[in-house]
């Protein structure tokens, strides 16, 4: 445990030394880490992969009193043979055979992707984007996340107040106070639409930014600038979150160096 702490600490400090300047310790550490990663991935993907998906199931099946030969051939042997055809790439004149496994993998991937990506990334999300006007009364309200549960009725209530008082004002009561109440209720209703409106405006303006069918000028240019602003807000959010992530990785490493490496070493040599 102590030895592994020292090894990790050594490589951490080697990597951090790059902040001062590029140096041989940094280069050594980066090459060791890359080499380890490739070696580890090879073992996981090829050795363990072959063992768990091919050799172990075959040996298990063969260990049975009556092995299911049909299942063994269909599920293990034929896929293995087809997958092995990828190595025909190395045999002159037989390279065309590599297209069989590649075609199978690509065909399977494309077939799966075409159906699911439309449904999950287009239809489901489009449905949610296109229903701001109705969702404001149910779930998309400005009040939903920020106010208590009862406030979900605020949009419907404020709109009802606006309609009812406007009718009253038009037909019977022409009092100035009613006008104030109508404006207040209208304001509350517009605020309750904020989330949905922001989403709608964001989607339309960002789409207009990527509209290249004709030259953008005049109003379209102005609208696309609003879209650009929306994108800059998004990139800003990503930058801020990235900063948090990078800093947390650093914090985790500093915690290791102080709590586990230094304190662990002190404890191992009889300190408290």
């Amino acid at each position: 445990m102590l030895v592994s702490s020292w090894v990790i600490a050594f490589f951490s400090l080697c990597i951090f030394s790059f902040l001062y300047k590029n140096n041989p310790f940094y280069k050594f550490a980066i090459h060791v880490i890359l080499g380890l990663m490739v070696g580890y991935m090879f073992v996981q993907q090829v050795v363990i992969g072959l063992s768990t998906s091919f050799f172990s199931p075959i040996l298990l099946e063969l260990g049975e009193s009556s092995p299911d030969w049909w299942n063994l051939v269909i599920q293990r042997i034929i896929p293995f043979v087809i997958a092995s055809l990828i190595f025909t790439l190395l045999i002159p004149g037989r390279q065309w055979m590599k297209n069989i496994p590649l075609g199978l993998v690509l065909g399977y991937g494309m077939g799966l992707m075409m159906v699911t990506s439309l449904e999950s990334n287009v239809f489901v999300q489009l449905r949610k984007t296109l229903q701001p006007a109705t969702s404001v009364f149910a779930s998309g309200s400005f009040f939903r996340d920020r106010w208590p549960q009862w406030a979900q009725f605020v949009p419907m209530l404020s709109l009802s107040v606006v309609v009812a008082l406007t009718l009253l004002y038009q037909f019977r009561m022409r009092l100035p106070q009613i006008k104030t109440v109508i404006y207040a209720a209208l304001l509350i209703f517009i605020i309750s639409l904020t989330d949905s409106l922001v989403i709608l405006i964001g989607v339309m303006t960002v789409l207009s930014y990527f509209f290249f069918s004709f030259e953008r000028d005049g109003l379209v240019e102005e609208v696309s600038r609003v879209g650009l602003t929306f994108m800059m807000v998004y990139f800003g959010a990503v930058f801020g979150s990235t900063l948090m992530t990078r800093m947390q990785i650093f914090i985790g490493q500093v915690d290791f160096l102080t709590a586990k490496w230094i304190m662990g070493t002190i404890r191992a040599f009889g300190g408290t």
Binding site: T52, S53, T116, L243, Q248, V254
Partner: protein, 295 residues
């Protein structure tokens, strides 16, 4: 003065950040942020699960993000084990995560006296590629014949109990790559099961379309999400201080320092550019006067 500020050696900024982080990490001042909507939803969903229910988690990340995903997983597993929920872990999409998962579950499981193979198991990696999404809807035994320790599937009771999406109460992906989108696209939309994510910072904005479209039940966003989850656990009497909450103090201080640096650098750039423009104008005017005099 502004010009000098722009030519300031960045090594001093690195040194300042390093000193601040070291002090904050040593003193471990806890900070609990208010829980956000996605973290609350995830917590509420786990709360709604019953004793004996099962969850799957997918470790779709590399060891580089351990400082983020370990606190997220620790908080999440504390919640699961304290409610006697059974846990099965996988890393079917990223081979490098194989060495991380088991040790993290084991560390928490020991505290709740949970037994490996009975209450939890870590299945590890399978080189099945995208076929894993549909195989897991039929039977995980199709793609996993042993767990990460080499134990045969037939000898793992907890894996036999929760064999497909419809058997589980929640699947959560702890992701440092773009994999939550794959889980939504290839698995959740087709097979309709509760899915959540624990992601790194740059991926947080990408999750909101899924959350808003109810394709995910909740999310833990970076270390902030983990700290929020720890806060919710404390509030509900599940767990004491965790690493995420104590990291938030260092995060906050460093963020303030960096905001000050960014603002100062922008102001300095603006002032230097303005001074440059003034100088250029003055030179142009002088040249014009000179040219006029010569004429």
């Amino acid at each position: 003065m502004w010009g000098k500020l722009l030519s300031f050696n960045t090594k001093y900024i690195y040194l300042t950040v390093a000193v601040i982080v070291t002090l904050a990490v040593i003193f471990k001042v806890p900070l609990t942020p208010n829980p956000s909507g996605p973290t609350n939803s995830l917590f509420d969903h786990v709360e709604s699960l019953q004793e004996g229910d099962g969850i799957w988690f997918f470790l779709d990340t590399r060891p580089a993000t351990e400082a983020i995903h370990k606190p997220q997983m620790q908080a999440f597993l504390h919640h699961c084990f304290s409610k006697d929920i059974k846990v099965i872990g996988f890393n079917p999409l990223v081979a490098e995560a194989s060495g991380m998962g088991r040790s993290i579950i084991e560390e928490i499981a020991i505290k709740y006296d949970k037994k490996e193979y009975v209450d939890w198991v870590y299945m590890g990696f399978t080189p099945a590629g995208i076929s894993v999404f549909s195989a897991m809807n039929r039977d995980i035994n199709e793609v996993y014949t042993t767990d990460v320790t080499g134990k045969p599937f037939a000898e793992i009771p907890v894996a036999q109990e929760f064999r497909k999406y419809s058997d589980i109460g929640l699947a959560i992906t702890f992701a440092g790559l773009k994999t939550p989108g794959y889980w939504v696209q290839y698995a959740q939309t087709r097979y309709n099961f509760p899915l959540a994510s624990g992601v790194t910072g740059p991926m947080i904005p990408d999750q909101f379309p899924f959350l808003n479209a109810d394709q995910m039940v909740g999310m833990m966003g970076d270390i902030l999400g983990a700290a929020e989850y720890e806060g919710l656990l404390r509030k509900n009497g599940y767990q004491d201080q965790g690493f995420a909450s104590s990291s938030m103090f260092a995060q906050t201080v460093v963020h303030y320092v960096l905001i000050i640096v960014i603002v100062l650098a922008n102001v300095a750039t603006y002032m230097v550019n303005r001074q440059g423009q003034r100088d250029r104008k003055a030179r142009a005017a002088a040249r014009a006067r000179l040219d006029g005099g010569m004429e």
